[in-house]
Subunit: 465 residues, 2 copies
Amino acid sequence: MPTTPATKPRVIIVGSGFGGLFAAQALDGTDVDITLIGRTTHHLFQPLLYQVATGILSPGEIAPSTREVLARQHNVEVILGDVTHIDVEHRTVLANTLEVEHRYAYDYLIVAAGAGQSYFGHDEFAQHAPGMKSIDDALELRGRIYGAFELAEVAGAQGDQEDLERLTTFVVVGAGPTGVEMAGQLVDLSARTLKGDFRHIDPTAARVILLDAGDAVLTSFDPHLQRKTKEQLEELGVDVRLGAMVVDVNAQGLEYLDGDKQRHRIEAVTKVWAAGVSASPLGADLAEQVGLEVDRTGRVPVQADLTLPGHPEIFVVGDMIALDDLPGVAQVAIQTSRFAAEQIEREIEGKTREPAFDYFDKGNMATISRFRGIAEIGPVKVTGFPAWFMWLVVHLFYLVGFKSRVSTLLHWTITFLGRDRAERVITEQQVFARLAMQESGEQILDRAAGEVAPRSGASPEQTQG
Amino acid sequence: MPTTPATKPRVIIVGSGFGGLFAAQALDGTDVDITLIGRTTHHLFQPLLYQVATGILSPGEIAPSTREVLARQHNVEVILGDVTHIDVEHRTVLANTLEVEHRYAYDYLIVAAGAGQSYFGHDEFAQHAPGMKSIDDALELRGRIYGAFELAEVAGAQGDQEDLERLTTFVVVGAGPTGVEMAGQLVDLSARTLKGDFRHIDPTAARVILLDAGDAVLTSFDPHLQRKTKEQLEELGVDVRLGAMVVDVNAQGLEYLDGDKQRHRIEAVTKVWAAGVSASPLGADLAEQVGLEVDRTGRVPVQADLTLPGHPEIFVVGDMIALDDLPGVAQVAIQTSRFAAEQIEREIEGKTREPAFDYFDKGNMATISRFRGIAEIGPVKVTGFPAWFMWLVVHLFYLVGFKSRVSTLLHWTITFLGRDRAERVITEQQVFARLAMQESGEQILDRAAGEVAPRSGASPEQTQG
């Protein structure tokens, strides 16, 4: 008879994204004690974040409570905490919960802390051009986007064409999947959802500009699909500008250098930053302790089995690793975390570990707008409606696992068939009014100030102050 | 042939709540130019706000865009602005949009600016005990409620019973309909939704305390229903304390005087303020200009036809008026605003105005928890499931007007039949972590700090700092 060990092996998982959640689930039934430490209380289904930012879905529909998802898995506990340091030598993790640091000891560690937005050394751009990485980002952008149209209505009532244009010009920086989806959604929002909602402006005349420093959109896809996507975006009315390197962003607009190093300025109150990611700083923290160097985007050059040299107990997965040119996509996070979990399970069961992670490329897809998408599965390339439909099925299928499926499906159906969006709330917490507008807003509206003419020409009186 | 006037009469409506929205809709088809000025971009269906605060519904489901609701009514424009002053003599309204003031001229004015939370001169309570008046309030409370359980899990892991109790004690101040609903929902949340989600605490052991300075709950209802409600709340496990006057609120708890002026302290991190309202300060602004005085809660003693003396062009409606003991409920706002709109229409059509507003009491209802409610329609009193079902039908019927019905119905069905809640997201913008906890949190967690023991007894190492 085997003897029961005094304590079970302790597995700590850092992060509640795809990597963290799938690692925990892969260890269901394994004789370990798992502590999943997450910085948020929810698991974020990031591929649909742009739908929250544009008012289609509510946060709850794409961000189920991590605790709830794992409630029935009895070998895991979920702790709210921001992991600030991993002590490789002492095998402990330091996590911050409400400014108080706690230390957690592990026997095995799976680091799945993901990646954040990168402004390439220009973090000051962030306040003017929010990223697209968290629910907070998405709600902030939602407030700014719908808020810009509200202010445009005021500018429109003044007949101030310059302000109106600045308020109804939307710039998306970065033409990866998120940037492409945002650009497509912004066109759909202005051309379809808001049509008829305003009296002084024509939302269908809003401009959407998509900038990328590279020479193609969706560079991770096949060149044929890249061209198709660019064509489809331009058909929709998106102004796609490639070879455009953003060099300055402020409240009223941004500036970029084109391929010939010519400087251009775009006047636009609402900017979205979807360019560049940078791996969690925990990557550098780990690398330093084991004598490695992270790459330009902070990723750790893990060994073929996803561990660190000399530390078979530490696995790094997902967006945090630099291995075989693996892309920063959900599938990589899922497969690497499952691989890590399997090795832990094998070792506990006395089996030999597998020497190397092997990525199975299930294909790649992106959606451009309602009914338009692209997909590549091995040699097969799909575009247009079939690709969009595949995208829908795959994403719905995923969400099914998290119980939000019925109402989410309904929101989608309503949105795709009708013109309405269910989630248009701007909260006062969202600082669109204060932050995005602070500089530009006062200048814009100072000039415009004073009078908002009722439509039928009745003349308003002078403003105070 | 009648001659067309050069400009149409200009009607300004202040507020996008029940009063403002129904006034605008009642003027559909009337030959006027309406400007609805709202401080938010949404119409808030306030009776369901507590469902957002407790994670059942998303903001979009109870707060449709005002602009979208009125999109097809061509004689109305919607302007985002906070009305700060009404100039009765010059017939203009001053509204603030992003720190810039604009003046709008009117021929008729309907003031439907509603009421805010009142802390009875203790505004410093607000940061520790948010009110229940806006979407922001509800999201803030949602973050604090779910956040308290997250922190309790950390305290539970420490075995710190005192902190755990403080974090799982919820106090609702004010036993009107909102307070009763919140208390019922908090019990349901802890006893049903969160059951099984935690490892170190038992959420079903959470305490919910309902305080009111009066000697009954739901004082606007029949005494029999008051007693029934109190009984049902106590059956659910709510600790109802009447004659309890709150005298101090801080981050860690609150203090109250009982009927015998004895001071009591409750240790509770999460407090909800549902006691007392105070009418919009625009009421006092108006009253002063026409030689009236507002009452204790800031309400304007309007004339029988809802106008101000000497100013037949100014109507004040809804929660802002002191007339015939009318309660501050949606039906009063709806009926008074419709009456005001009708009088404007009659005058424009050359008919005589009606001399006095007459309230038609359709009855009163409240919900206590899932499947329990109370209702009174004239002499008929209903309790329990039938009352709850009536409440559900009435509220659904109302929401039908705003297109959120299908997904809302689904969320409700899922929530009432199952144990899950779809909207549990805590955003970083929500300051539960910083504000509610700032003082108490550090103290609580400082003591608790250091170690969070993995469940199976493996001992963690000492904390840094």
